[in-house]
């Protein structure tokens, strides 16, 4: 029979690794299924792996590089005995206990599960965007910005991520156009100030991209003004999309309660999901704050919630029994 562990943590961003540090220090020997390499933010280390300077994580006066911050999280979890595996959970069964988690055909069982699979960047959803992905359309500014040295490019979006990418890309490109569907930005004041001051960054308001143009590589975008409905073609060499996020919850469909956007619903002031013994933390259950520090904080909550729950279950048998959902 498959070994039954105390805790499996699915996902390895700030939430999952903080949960791993706390669970490991509580002697629960957590197994962390980190995820698989990817060029989107659904990958080991999470969304910070695709960023550069992190300036708002407390404790780093001069800022720290996103991948470096995650390397230290991981090392700290490992130091206390967390078992980290570069593998992506492909299926879960929360209908009976101990809970089942699969990586392909490999089965894992645990008394408690912490879900911290995070969120990934949303794409525009245009066929032309898919066709030119990797040929001028990019999901990773830090990976691909270099290829647009002395070129004109655009970033779609109006939040902090969009402005961060635009500012980063302005180091390479001659001109960065931020295309936003409204007349004002959602981004924080400090990012707006920086972007407005940057001479290479321009703004195209009230506009949406309706088509990415080009045969083998990106040559431009077709943009529609949502007020006038007028369409314009803009010549560009690259397009970076930062229009928001979507939670990585497809494997939990039918297993955990989610809201209409697919975020896992947790009980107020807690990391508990609607399944007893399954906890959620980080961006997979947070569409509001979405910060590394809030993810880490909720990861700590999940580990403490799971530890207390496991203690209360102390006498529970190890054979598979049906779980009760509060749904």
């Amino acid at each position: 029979m498959t070994k039954v562990r105390d805790i499996i943590i699915i996902g390895s961003g700030p939430a999952g690794l903080t949960a791993a540090i706390y669970a490991a220090r509580a002697n629960l020997q957590p197994l962390v299924l980190e995820g698989e390499p990817s060029s989107t933010s659904d990958q080991p280390g999470g969304q910070l792996m695709l960023t550069t300077d992190v300036e708002n994580y407390p404790g780093f006066v001069d800022g720290i590089q996103g991948p470096e911050l995650m390397r230290t999280f991981r090392a700290q979890a490992e130091r206390f005995g967390a078992e980290l595996v570069v593998a992506k959970a492909t299926r879960v069964d929360f209908s009976s206990r101990p809970f089942g988690v699969w990586v392909g055909d490999d089965e894992y069982r645990a008394r408690a599960v912490i879900v911290s699979t995070g969120a990934r960047a949303l794409m525009l959803g245009l066929p032309s965007e898919q066709r030119l992905l990797g040929y001028g359309v990019s999901t990773c500014a830090t990976c691909d910005g270099f290829f647009f040295r002395d070129e004109e490019i655009a970033v779609v979006g109006g939040g902090d991520s969009a402005l961060e990418e635009a500012i980063f890309l302005s180091k390479f490109a001659t001109k960065v156009t931020v295309i936003h569907r409204r007349k004002e930005l959602r981004a924080s004041k400090i990012m707006q100030d920086r972007a407005f001051r940057n001479p290479k960054i321009q703004f195209l308001w009230d506009s949406v991209v309706t088509e990415v143009l080009g045969d083998s590589t990106v040559e431009g975008v077709r943009v529609r003004n949502v007020v006038t409905n007028e369409e314009t073609d803009i010549p560009l060499a690259g397009l970076f999309v930062a229009i928001g996020h979507v939670p990585n919850t497809s494997i939990f469909t039918g297993q955990l309660q989610m809201d209409e956007a697919g975020y896992i619903v947790t009980q107020p002031d807690s990391s508990r999901t609607d399944v007893d013994g399954v906890f959620a933390c980080g961006d997979v259950q947070d569409s509001v704050y979405r910060q590394a520090i809030t993810a880490a904080g909720s990861g700590c909550m999940a580990a403490i919630d799971a530890e207390r729950w496991l203690e209360a279950q102390h006498d529970a048998p190890d054979e598979i029994v049906a779980t009760q959902s509060t749904r």
């Binding site: 060029s39 990958q43 991948p67 990797g134 990976c143 691909d144 290829f147 083998s216």
Partner: protein, 115 residues
């Protein structure tokens, strides 16, 4: 470097603008060229995966790396606008192009025709 079951590791050559054509042209097995750079996080994540594949499939394929920062002429020749990009060369010709970082399972699936 990745450890293999028997403890040996195939060496992964770093191609340059000068050696690229010679190495790619003279390869007897399909050659997977990993276009990468130091500043690319996903590139670093797939490096150990590619090492494992090179070790476990030694004899059927080989893996080599090209640093796009140091050798932009080669990157431009193959329209590399995103990394990591893998190009599989057979008899000196590009036969398959894979874009973006992927896990081992998926990479093996996509490379199956060459293994």
């Amino acid at each position: 470097m990745a450890d293999t079951q028997n403890g040996t590791s195939v060496s992964i050559p770093h191609l340059t603008s000068t050696t690229f054509d010679e190495e790619v042209g003279s390869a007897t097995e399909p050659l997977v060229v990993d276009f990468w750079a130091e500043w690319c996080g996903p590139c670093k994540m797939i490096a150990p995966v590619l090492q494992e594949i090179a070790d476990e499939h030694a004899g059927s394929i080989r893996v080599a790396k090209l640093n796009v920062d140091d050798h932009p002429d080669i990157a431009r020749r193959y329209d590399i606008l995103s990394i990591p990009t893998l190009i599989v060369f057979k008899d000196g010709r590009p036969e398959l192009r894979l874009r973006g970082a992927k896990g081992k399972r998926q990479l093996l699936e996509e490379l199956a025709a060459f293994l």
